[in-house]
Structure formats: C-alpha cells, structure tokens
Symmetry: C2
Subunit: 348 residues, 2 copies
Amino acid sequence: MSKSTIDDVAALAGVARTTVSRVLNNQPNVRAEVRDKVLRAVEQLGFRVNPQARQLAGKKALRFVLVHASDFDSEPNSYFSSALELGATRAAARLGAQLITHVVNQNDPHAARQILAQAADDQCNGVILTPPFADDPALLRALAAQDCRVVGIAAGPESQALVETIGIDEERAGHDMAAHLLAQGHRAFGFIKGPAQHRSAEGRYDGFLAALAEAGIPASAVQAERGNFTFRSGLDCAQRLLGPDRTITALVCANDDMAAGALLAAHKAALRIPQDIAITGFDDTPVSEIVWPPLTTIHQPLRKMGERAVERLAQLAGGSPPDPAAPPLHEIVPHHLVPRDSSGMALQ
Amino acid sequence: MSKSTIDDVAALAGVARTTVSRVLNNQPNVRAEVRDKVLRAVEQLGFRVNPQARQLAGKKALRFVLVHASDFDSEPNSYFSSALELGATRAAARLGAQLITHVVNQNDPHAARQILAQAADDQCNGVILTPPFADDPALLRALAAQDCRVVGIAAGPESQALVETIGIDEERAGHDMAAHLLAQGHRAFGFIKGPAQHRSAEGRYDGFLAALAEAGIPASAVQAERGNFTFRSGLDCAQRLLGPDRTITALVCANDDMAAGALLAAHKAALRIPQDIAITGFDDTPVSEIVWPPLTTIHQPLRKMGERAVERLAQLAGGSPPDPAAPPLHEIVPHHLVPRDSSGMALQ
DNA sequence: CATGAAATTGGAAGCGCTTCCAATTGTTCC
DNA sequence: GGAACAATTGGAAGCGCTTCCAATTTCATG
C-alpha cells in the first residue's frame, strides 16, 4: 500500500522528474516516444499525483470562501447547501485549494458587513455567494472594491452584469416544463412562484409563460400564487388553487418542497395524481423521489455548480487580470426534465 | 489579500520557524513568554496554517476512500450520502488528507470484490464503509487481510466486533423516542421498522420496546410492520396500521422518509396529527422539516459521523500498530430528540 | 562537416511547513 | 566558579511537486 512518487515514475521511465511533470501537465517539448514511456510507467505504478504537493510547488496556494444563507445562526439543514458545498469541496480538494465555509443569517441586517469582514479576515482569493446574497448588488460591489473575486450562484440578471455567475437557464427550464405538460394535452394551468426577491427563479415563470404563449394561451389564463419555497406555502397556495371550483389540470411549482405541499393538498382534496391534476416541481432534490407519486421536476445540478464555482475562481486567481471592458460571464449549466409519475400520463 | 506564512510570524515574533511550529502544534519546551509572543504575532497577521504544506512536510500523506451504496451505478441522490461525505471531505481538507469517493451498486453480486479492487488500486490508508457494506463481515475480513483499515458507519454488533465503527446509540435513541411519547400519555403504539439487514436500525426497535416494557407495556401489544426506508413503504405500512379499526395513538417510524409516507396515509384517512395520531421519524434529514406538520425525529449527526470517520482513520494511520488483543472501538456520537408538531401535544 | 537555431531534457531551487540534530542558555550541585 | 545536566531555541534537510535556467541533442542549412 505504498504510494508512488514522481521520482518512482521518473526512475522507471528513465527520465528526469521535470520530464514526468511536463507529461503529466501536458506541457510541450516532449517527444511522443518519451511521453508514452512516462505514461506507461504511471500506469504500471498506479501513480497518483499528490494535489497538495502540486499546489504548494506551483506557488498557487488558493483559498476560497463559500457563504451559506440560513434562517438561523447555525448551519442550514438543507439539501441545496449540502450539495453545493459538496461539489465545491470536491473541486477544491482536486485543485489542492482550501475552501472555508461560513453560515450567515440572511435576516440579519448586518449580514453583508459580516460577509465583507470575513472575506478580508480569511485572506481569500475569492468568494462564492448563494441566494439571496448573490442578488445583493451593493455587497457585490463592496467585495469588488476590496479586490475580492466573486462567483454568484443562481443569481439574477442584475448580478450577472456585475460578477461571474453560474446557474441553469431558468427560462428554458420553465419553458421545458410547460412544453412537457402541453405535450400531454394540458391547457389549464396553475403556477406557484417562489419569493419575489429570488430573481433567478422568476425566470422559471417567464419561460413557462413564453411556452404557453407559443401555444396560444395568454398569461391572464394562468392561475398564479406566490409561495416562499416551503412545503407549507406550497400546501396553502395549492389549497386555494385546488378548491371545489378547480379548473386547472396541471400545477407547476417553482421548487420541489412547494410541490410536495401541493401533493398533500391534492391528496386531501381526494384528487387523483396525475389523472385529475398533474403536479410538478423544480430542482430534483431527494424530496422529489421521496413523495408519492414521485415528482416530475427539473434537475438542477447543484454539485456541478459548486464545482464550477471553485474552478471558475481558480481560473480567475491564476490568469491574467480581467479585461475591464469584458462583461462577467454567466455560465449556464445544463438542466434536464425528469419525468416521473406526478405527470406521467397524458390527459384523457 | 496576501497570505502570511510561518516565516512572517517568526520574523514578527523574533523567533525561528521551528519555535513557531512548536507553538502552533502545542509541543513542549517553549517558554510561556515566547508562546505568548508567537500567538500575538499569529493574531496580528491573521496567519492561517496551510494544511497542504503541513501534511507534506509531516510526511503523513494520507488518502482515504469513502464507499457510497446506491441502487444504480450513478451517485445516490440522497441526503444521507451527501451529508456523510460533506463531513468526511471537510475533515480531510482540514487534515490535508485526500478523500476519494466511490459509488457501488449494492445489488451487484460483485460489489464486495469491486470495493476490494478499488481499495488496492487507490493505494489508500483506509476505507469508510456505509450500510449495507458496513454490515458485510466477509468484506470486512478481506479488507483487513489486504492491510486496509476500515471504519464502518452505522454498523451492527457483528461488524463492531471486527472493525472500528461509528454510530449513534440506536437503542438509547429508540428508548428516548418511546419515552417522549409515553410522557405525552400514549399507551397504544405502532412501529414501522427498517430493512431486516440494517442491523443497527434494529436497535431502534429494541430500545423502543425496552422503554415500553419499563412502562408495563408488553411487546405483544405493539403493532409492528416492516418497511424498507422509502416513503412508499411508509405509506403502505401506515395504511394498514391506520385503517378504520385503528387502535394506536402513536406511530413510530424507523426513518423520516417512511414517516413522511405515514403522514400522507394519516392525511388520507382524515386523521388529525398529532391529536388523533402522533407520527415520528428518525434521522432529522431535511424531509423532517419539509412535511406538514413537521416531524418529531431523532437527530443523527451525519456530517459529524463523516468527520469522525476520517479523523479515526487518520489516527489509525499515524499511530502505533493496533493492539491485536484490544477490541475495535465503537464510537457513539450523540443523538438528540427533536420535538416538532407531529407529536407536539399531550394526548387529550 | 561545421555552424546556428530550435527542440528537448535535466539540475536545482524552493513552495510552507515539520522535524532531526546541533547549538545555546539556564539551573543545580559540589 | 566550574561541571554536569536539563530546558530551550535554531539551522538545515526535505516532504512531492513545479518551474526557471542551463545543458544537451537534434535539425536545417551552406
């Protein structure tokens, strides 16, 4: 169980460590024959580069901060934050970077100031901000002023103009969900939105409406409610939409938790799902598979987003100074529709 | 935003790096006056040790493997695995260790062989096994035979006798849940167990029965069903227990997902929760707060368990050879009862 | 074949830190 | 005061790897 080092590879391949390093890092000026010899030695020894050593030697000690939002002063008990951080820490480990996580109470009036102080304290190369912090332009500007790079997660258009951001194409996702339901014959829709300040999620509704408009269904025909991403708000909104005078045959919820609440409301109203009412969510968190029937939803790759955020910061830290004239990049990660039984059947 | 190094601290404190290192690592033979001077310099500079450099210099390059179980060949979409891994990666990062994760299909007859091959391939110092792999004695013995240290997560008594393990006190947890319900006046119970091969979770039922026995309620009076930890199995079992001839006032489920299914069954049967039937879960996953009413449950600190697993492996890798006569250590991490509205009121 | 240029390879320093062995300082005893 | 011992501190090597600059080899041209 002893670990091979670059010196072992060099000895076996009969070259210097410099050459091994060149091969492993895809640098030029290595003959193909030497490259093959090195790669064979790597394979034979089962060599794995030590990322810590690589990072240290490369003079690129990197340290990033991930800021979680919470309603309390303790860590959020949520899949969103766990998955995002898991992706981020995996990427950091791979790159030999340090990732420091902080939890900030989103209801604290001093939240922004706290984030600024922590970023300075931590002497970090960059900060990953989650909603709602990613949608706070003043905070984004203040971080830039203290020379701190930022990647915003699921941030709205205003933030996209200020800092690097990552998210799914929310409008396209909403459009895809509507298209799925339209293809099943639905023409009468309800929609439970998320919080108004969640700018990116508003795009879900916009895309949904755009797809309906293409099918000749005006926005005024949609029965919309506003929830706050919780099961309870989904239950309450759905009870209003699924009352005795119900006209809708499909209810789209802006996240899975609210959709789970809407499922309960439908069960309580003795409605068959999806025959009487199809119900769909967003995000593909574990909840979407836990409930009955399992939810049709849009998969948002949270882990991937965490990874990309770290990788983006690493690029920013390692590259040339940013071109001030170039706008920040909004990176779109792919979403996909996950059809499940909550919308599994075409309308009769 | 420049990072301080140990040399900066040494210069400011007027000592050698060796002395700074001694202070930071709590080594003896440093006068208190010198120690204070160093710590002040650390504070003033906001110095943070670089764990990569520490690990590399300390000649303790560590690499661990975490094996997730899945029903597919892709990564499980579950809070259990995410939280465990998050704890493990955080601890690994802090210790400057590498953590490699693998996903193994638990239904694959070659699963054990796959794990063995991967551990050897990865040249790792140790393996963290999750259920059901942690409950496979043959696998545990085979890993030991290839000189691979193991920490099992939530493993049953048989595994506890073979390898290092970590879990909550399942019996005490089951006992605490029963005591909570007994204190609210409940005397007629149902219980939805987990899968029979999940040895550790059987302890939940044992502890539950022990508490009832103390209150003079025999095991034969409990209506028990067996689920498989899924929402659907919870729904099905609960429908049998909550039928028109229902006699129970409290239903304890061996995990939160089944409890969420039981909640739906209760809602469908038009039962008030908790007035007509109290329903409780186990594990305190995000689901427990997402449903309505929120679930009383037992908090199992998954992240902590992941952390401790890595720390335990690091200790095993760094210490003296294990005493063959000493039994492996079963580490108990604290659980606690989380009372919520699903059992929030005393019986009328 | 000789020369110059380009391509390829290697020696060695050093990233931030730990640790081994040497050097220095302090304490105790006669 | 001197010797012996203990406590404290520091110099320097080196962890696994990258990278800068030097050395060597290869290629092209006259």
